[in-house]
């Protein structure tokens, strides 16, 4: 399998001289199976440069797995050129939204309204299919099996595990480790704690033994208290998750839009220094736009 990062930035695209090395595009990861089947994780702005490379391999069959519907994970989708070209087959997988009662079709319908985008949804010339991803219900894409896992974010967020020929990748999308909503002296504290521990264990099991874990490490531990409940992890929480699950390579992603390349390397190094054992046991890297890893 091959994994290539096309967008590693969280929240909003952040081009400029201070983000040249790690890139300014929002979340998009290309995964190629050994049979060259195309799986795309999220459609942030990174999907636009990816889509340009696909024009030389038409017709395209692509399975896009959307972790959740926030802008930085969907905003590139209307610019995914293959959707406009007849003969292409695109499948958009995503969760069911309990508020609107709709599935991933809503992601395109909402963005492609005429006042926001010049081309209407009905004018997409490729064949587009929308499939609801259900937690813990694996789907097959060619030689790969993709298993959605429910994680924790202000909107329903699915992490995806991709298994193919004995190799595996897990992408969290956006995820904040669960915290107890009760105070220790409250009656509900113990019950809630056991619920979140059970959920944490099931997440660790879903990631167990992956070759590559790509995880949301938006914040530093110092920044986190002010951002609690915003739905993102820290470098430290990602390292701990990777360690618990026995991942071989951890990529930290969803970089803060205001964090310069220099600062990113600095806070990353500090987090590694806090976890010397983990840093010795596994390969921990910063996700960088354009980087490709073969497993």
């Amino acid at each position: 399998m091959k994994v290539k990062f096309w967008g590693v930035r969280g929240s909003i695209p952040s081009p400029g001289p201070k983000t040249v090395r790690y890139g300014g595009n929002t979340t998009c990861i290309e995964v190629r199976t050994d049979n060259n089947e195309l799986i795309i994780l999220d459609g942030g702005t990174g999907i636009f440069p990816l889509s340009q490379t696909l024009l030389k391999e038409l017709p395209v069959t692509a399975h896009i797995f959307n972790t959740h519907s926030h802008w930085d994970h969907i905003q590139g989708l209307p610019f995914f050129i293959p959707i406009f070209i007849p003969g292409n087959q695109i499948t958009l997988h995503g969760s069911f939204d309990p508020i609107s009662g709709e599935g991933p079709e809503r992601i395109m319908a909402v963005q492609m309204q005429y006042s926001y985008f010049p081309v209407r949804e009905a004018e997409m010339k490729s064949r587009i299919e929308y499939l609801v991803s259900m937690p813990n219900e694996p789907v097959d894409v060619g030689s790969a099996t993709i298993t959605p896992v429910l994680l924790n974010h202000p909107v329903v967020n699915l992490g995806y595990r991709i298994d193919c020929n004995g190799k595996s990748v897990f992408f969290t999308g956006d995820h904040e480790p669960h915290t107890n909503i009760y105070d220790p002296e409250d009656e509900g504290f113990a019950e809630y704690q056991s619920l979140i521990e059970e959920q944490r264990r099931s997440i660790v099991e879903a990631i167990r033994g992956v070759d590559v874990l790509i995880a949301d490490s938006a914040y530093t531990v110092e920044e986190y208290p002010a951002k609690k409940g915003w739905g993102h992890g820290t470098f430290d929480s990602c390292i701990e998750l990777a360690q618990a699950a026995g991942a071989k390579i951890l990529y930290c992603t969803h970089h803060e839009p205001t964090r310069s390349d220099d600062d990113l390397e600095k806070v990353f190094a500090e987090a590694l220094a806090r976890h010397p054992e983990a840093a010795g046991n596994m390969d921990i890297r910063l996700a960088r736009e354009g980087e490709e890893v073969v497993i």
Binding site: I99, E137, N152, I181
Partner: protein, 288 residues
């Protein structure tokens, strides 16, 4: 009742989707949603004190779209699985449907119904904590108590004329309301409540408990026996009622299970004023 139960369930299930929640919880949800710093636990407390909101939330969570490893029976579980913000927005969408009217054409007192449901829920949880054998989660007893009479509020809302007749028959002839419902409507609230939760894929134990809460209770079934005893205590101590004032005695088997008759059980539960007080804060109407 001329319709088949499947048709009736379908019709009532669609109706419940549009059913508004109780005034106080709607008011609180709107207040909490305006407050950026609202305490998550407060939000949970409001939802789990409203049978309509709880029912709607669990209905969506247990739907085929989320194949959770186990069925969801508590609001806290919902928050852990789908996240606080999603649950908050779901509650807001329930609140946006307005409030359940204080007066309904059936003349059914929804405040007393809510008092009865809340106190039965709390008592069932207490009983489970005190007399349970560790086989049942006290939270499941709470949910069973909160939802056991849900069929009645559905009748009052969607079959008011028939339900009014059943209420009148029950009080004139001093018979249990479920008997009168069967006579007039053809199905009683326990059957309708169970049909709904069954359709919505709630856990089988909860469906069975709602369906059988007027049947003979097996003392070995902790969930059913805790609900039954809680239901009777709530009525006996006039904590609330939902149109049925008749208090049923505990069978000899239940007396053996709980180590005494109803008065003994009440005495062993200790001070219950908190149960009533807590329920009351949620049943006072929202200020218009």
């Amino acid at each position: 009742m001329t319709e088949t139960s499947a048709e009736l369930t379908k019709k009532l299930s669609a109706a419940v989707e549009k059913m508004p929640a109780f005034p106080k919880s709607v008011q609180r949800i709107l207040e909490l949603a305006r407050d950026m710093n609202c305490q998550p636990k407060e939000l949970v407390m409001v939802i789990e004190k409203d049978p309509v909101m709880t029912m709607k939330l669990l209905r969506i969570l247990n739907s085929a779209y989320y194949s959770f490893p186990k069925q969801i029976t508590s609001v806290n579980q919902s928050v852990v699985y789908l996240g606080l913000n999603t649950i908050k927005n779901m509650a807001l969408s329930f609140a946006a449907m307005g409030v359940l009217p204080q007066q309904n054409a059936a003349g059914f007192d929804i405040q007393r119904y809510l008092m009865h449901s809340l106190t039965t829920a709390s008592l069932a949880r207490m009983l489970c904590q005190k007399f349970g054998k560790g086989d049942i989660d006290p939270t499941d007893c709470y949910i069973a108590g909160l939802l056991h009479d849900f069929g009645k509020v559905v009748f009052a809302q969607f079959m008011p004329a028939e339900f009014k007749e059943a209420l009148a028959l029950s009080s004139e002839q001093a018979t249990s309301l479920h008997v009168a419902e069967k006579k007039i409507i053809g199905a009683d609230h326990s059957l309708v409540g169970a049909m709904l939760v069954e359709k919505w894929q709630f856990p089988e134990s909860l469906t069975d408990t709602i369906r059988n809460h007027h049947s003979e209770i097996s003392p070995d079934n902790t969930l059913q026996s805790c609900l039954f005893v809680a239901d009777q205590i709530s009525k006996k101590l006039s904590m609330g009622d939902s149109g049925n004032l008749l208090v049923e005695e505990l069978s000899p088997a239940l007396v053996a299970r709980f180590g005494g008759d109803m008065d003994d059980v009440i005495a062993r539960l200790g001070d219950l004023s908190k149960v009533v007080e807590e329920a009351r804060t949620f049943t006072k109407g929202a200020e218009a």
